[in-house]
């Protein structure tokens, strides 16, 4: 952890992440206005004392909308990642631990999934599921699972041949003990690191789906949707697209930096260089 805090990337990531999490947890209480409330006379205004970040085409307060949208945006990322990483890891760990035929079959199937560009895959699934926040989350999770399974599997494989695992096998430990106490705790590092970085991808894909009209639906305050709804007005009031856009970027960057720093902290080879 000390390593982590000495790394400027980690510190910046941590600070951004803290801000994002505070906003995600308390945003709705911090918001000065109801995010759906129209202030018709003040439509499409830039920042002012009344509306700190300006207003959108309906005269809704952008700051309030951003604050309200934070939970859905952030928890979308976390949820999709958790689901995808969870499912993927289970598959990967099973493949890695089982080895042999089970492993080859699982890996071949995953290869098939990985043969499609990520966003295309998500797009098809979300079309299939019918659009909407939950559906988009599921779609992202499904997209993530094969890649995660690979990472989990290779983490397990690299640990599985470590000598302390061999020692446990030679000692005659039970399978449960070996997987649960010797392999998993040591394979978790790369999985967690990858998961953290993927949160930022999930947030970006979620926002992109919102933008394409396949994710969150109006009048949700999801940030990608906010950009998409306001796009028509971007030249009349750039704030209404810049504000949610930057919010997405900051959030994604927070997770990204944090994950990178975590990776460095976990991987002594990188952190030394």
């Amino acid at each position: 952890m000390r390593d982590f805090l000495r790394n400027p990337v980690g510190v910046v990531g941590l600070v951004l992440l803290m801000i994002v999490l505070v906003v995600a947890l308390f945003g709705p209480w911090l918001a000065p206005y109801d995010p759906q409330l129209f202030h018709a006379p003040s439509r499409l205004q830039g920042p002012s004392a009344e509306f700190w970040l300006g207003t959108d085409q309906y005269g809704r307060d952008l700051l309030s909308r951003i604050l309200h949208g934070a939970p859905s945006t952030v928890f979308f990322g976390l949820g999709a990642t958790a689901l995808g990483v969870g499912a993927g890891s289970v598959i990967g760990v099973v493949a890695g631990v089982a080895g042999g035929k089970v492993d080859s079959i699982i890996m071949r199937v995953l290869d098939g999934f990985l043969a499609m560009p990520e966003l295309l895959f998500t797009l098809l699934i979300v079309t299939f599921l019918g659009g909407g926040m939950t559906q988009a989350m599921l779609a992202v999770a499904v997209t993530f699972a094969p890649g995660m399974a690979r990472i989990a599997r290779s983490a397990v494989l690299s640990v599985r041949t470590r000598e302390y695992v061999l020692a446990a096998i030679a000692r005659g430990e039970s399978r449960m003990w070996i997987v649960g106490r010797e392999v998993l705790p040591n394979a978790l590092g790369p999985i967690i690191v990858e998961a953290t970085i993927r949160v930022s991808f999930a947030i970006m894909i979620g926002a992109t789906l919102g933008f394409l009209g396949l994710g969150a639906q109006p009048p949700s305050t999801e940030w990608g949707l906010m950009v998409s709804e306001a796009r028509q007005f971007m030249f009349r009031n750039p704030w209404c697209v810049v504000v949610p856009g930057v919010a997405i970027a900051i959030t994604a960057m927070g997770f990204n930096l944090f994950g990178d720093a975590l990776r460095d902290a976990f991987d002594p080879k990188r952190s030394r260089s």
């Binding site: 035929k101 030679a170 000692r171 005659g172």
Partner: protein, 547 residues
């Protein structure tokens, strides 16, 4: 040798410091040494003593956090410390060349080896590409490679370690430098190849009369090839002189300690010969096949060809005995260790304590308790996420060796047994040194109160002095517990100190088994003889007694 000539290399009172976040590390402190033309000067010392640092300092190739703290380095009288980076570029490879420890890592994997020799000639001797290639071929021929022209066209991964090291040596000699620095050029090679490289070094030195700085931690080897030796300890030269004088009469305590640690066959540290009786363990016709993969993998075309890692191996072990298992790299030693500790499927049968086991799944809990294994890498054999206490208590709980409330005290006993303080129980493996970790691994094996302990190169990753201590500890534990031991190693001197009998493997088969006392007997298998001859016998050290 004419020592009155101007020295090729002179290091005077040189110091170097690394700046790190934890503070400055004084890696070298007022180091002085001087190498005369034609002289081979050995630099010995344990890991981390500053040997490589001195080599980099001479080459003026240092990481950004390194800082000269004084003194001078002169090459044939020219001050190297004053040279600009561009000037040093012209010195490196041209006037001082270097041969590295790991030939696999020090060659560019994406470039044909011919190019890698030729580029030095093009750079320093202004040759055209054709001339350089012709010259490279000649240089390679001088290293005794059978088909040099062919070798030039190969990529590094297509050559063996020995061949790669020959390319490295040919490159170093290519521009007739004044000085060549050898940084442990044989440690990454197996015994027989190392022997050949050493012979090559001696021959080329004689032919060219080049001065050499030879870095090593192997005193036996140094004794054979060097004229003078400097002993370095924690960045200081503690002793310096002609090899035979230093070794005959070491002045410094550290030198003496180093020398005492050198394994010598005649210094037996083995337990007394066990009583001859029925065998404790017998391997009968054990074979292991590698590379048998499923049809799916084969269809997908990723399967390497299958082959035998061990074939029809038979040997036995008596109660309380220490059997040495030796052989070149890849001869199947670890494979046998894995078979016996139930880590690998095999054909044939293993008998233990009167019971026969056919195949890995036949091994039961009782067998697994009786047979314990210790691995080579201390870093990898302890779970980094468990404390030492947890690690050591695991066999106790698993085999129900003592009541739950006594586990902690038994762990303390175990730590005590391997000469470590009791409070280590709360530490994590990364807070221990390599030697300490290896002791924990040994303690864990003995915690199960086994009847057989398999040690797979347990000393290979350790420093010479630590090696000796670990070997002694092992013998002590064996004496206390009466367990038998299968000791796998490359180090023939060490095994002759430790073992009662030695089994030799080559290419997956057992070729020879003999009593230690019969090692020099003419009845030995030719391969055994080759192995024994390849070991640099530290003759110069003979008079020295163990501390």
């Amino acid at each position: 040798m004419n020592t009155s000539e101007r020295p090729v290399l002179e290091v005077q009172d040189y110091g170097l410091t690394y700046d790190t976040p934890q503070g400055a590390i004084e890696a070298l402190q007022s180091v002085s040494l001087s190498i005369a033309p034609g002289e081979t000067h050995a630099l010995v010392g344990e890991s981390g003593s500053g040997k490589s640092t001195l080599a980099w300092a001479i080459m003026r190739y240092l990481p950004p956090n390194a800082r000269d703290t004084g003194g001078a380095i002169k090459l044939s009288g020219e001050h190297l410390l004053d040279k600009s980076p561009a000037q040093m570029e012209a010195v490196r490879g041209r006037r001082i060349a270097m041969v590295f420890q790991d030939p696999s890592a020090s060659l560019n994997p994406a470039m044909r080896m011919g190019e890698q020799i030729a580029e030095v000639l093009i750079r320093h001797r202004g040759m055209t590409h054709e001339q350089a290639m012709a010259e490279a071929e000649a240089a390679l021929a001088r290293t005794g490679i059978a088909r040099p022209a062919e070798m030039l066209r190969k990529y590094p991964h297509e050559a063996s370690g020995g061949e790669k090291q020959r390319v490295g040596i040919a490159t170093a000699f290519a521009c007739n430098p004044e000085l060549i620095i050898f940084d442990e050029p044989t440690t990454a090679l197996d015994i027989l190849t190392a022997q050949q490289i050493l012979d090559l070094f001696v021959r080329l030195r004689e032919e060219t009369g080049v001065a050499a700085l030879y870095i090593s931690h192997d005193l036996g080897l140094v004794a054979r090839i060097a004229d003078r030796v400097s002993v370095i300890h924690q960045g200081r030269i503690v002793e310096n002189g002609l090899v035979h004088e230093v070794f005959r009469d070491p002045q410094d305590a550290y030198t003496r300690k180093l020398m005492a640690a050198v394994p010598r066959p005649e210094n037996r540290i083995a337990v007394a010969d066990p009583a001859r009786g029925p065998a404790l363990m017998q391997a009968q016709g054990v074979s292991v096949r590698y590379g048998d993969t499923g049809w799916l993998t084969r269809v997908m075309g990723r399967a390497p060809a299958a082959f035998y890692g061990a074939q029809d191996v038979s040997f036995d072990l008596r109660p309380g005995e220490l059997l040495g298992l030796v052989g070149a790299s890849g001869s199947g030693k670890s494979t046998m260790a894995q078979v016996l500790s139930g880590l690998r499927d095999f054909q044939g049968s293993v008998q233990f304590g009167g019971r026969a086991f056919e195949g890995r799944r036949a091994f039961d809990r009782a067998y697994r308790r009786d047979v314990q294994i210790v691995f080579q890498h201390p870093d990898a054999s302890l779970n980094p996420r468990q404390t030492i206490g947890t690690i050591l208590s695991r066999p106790l709980r698993l085999y129900d060796l003592c009541p739950g409330d006594q586990v902690a005290s038994r762990v303390r006993d175990l730590l005590d047994m391997v000469l470590l303080p009791a409070d280590f129980a709360h530490r994590y493996p990364h807070q221990l040194s390599g030697g300490q970790k290896q002791r924990i691994a040994i303690a864990r094996a003995f915690a199960a109160e086994p009847r057989l302990v398999i040690c797979d190169e347990v000393t290979a990753a350790l420093d010479v002095s630590v090696q000796a201590a670990v070997a002694r500890l092992l013998a002590d534990l064996q004496r206390q517990s009466g367990a038998a031991c299968l000791f796998i190693t490359h180090d023939l001197n060490l095994i002759r100190q430790l073992a009662h009998r030695i089994t030799v493997m080559q290419g997956g088969r057992v070729v020879d088994t003999f009593d230690v006392a019969d090692a020099e007997s003419p009845a030995r298998h030719s391969y055994t003889r080759a192995l024994l001859n390849a070991v640099p016998v530290p003759t110069e050290l003979k008079g020295v007694t163990a501390a």
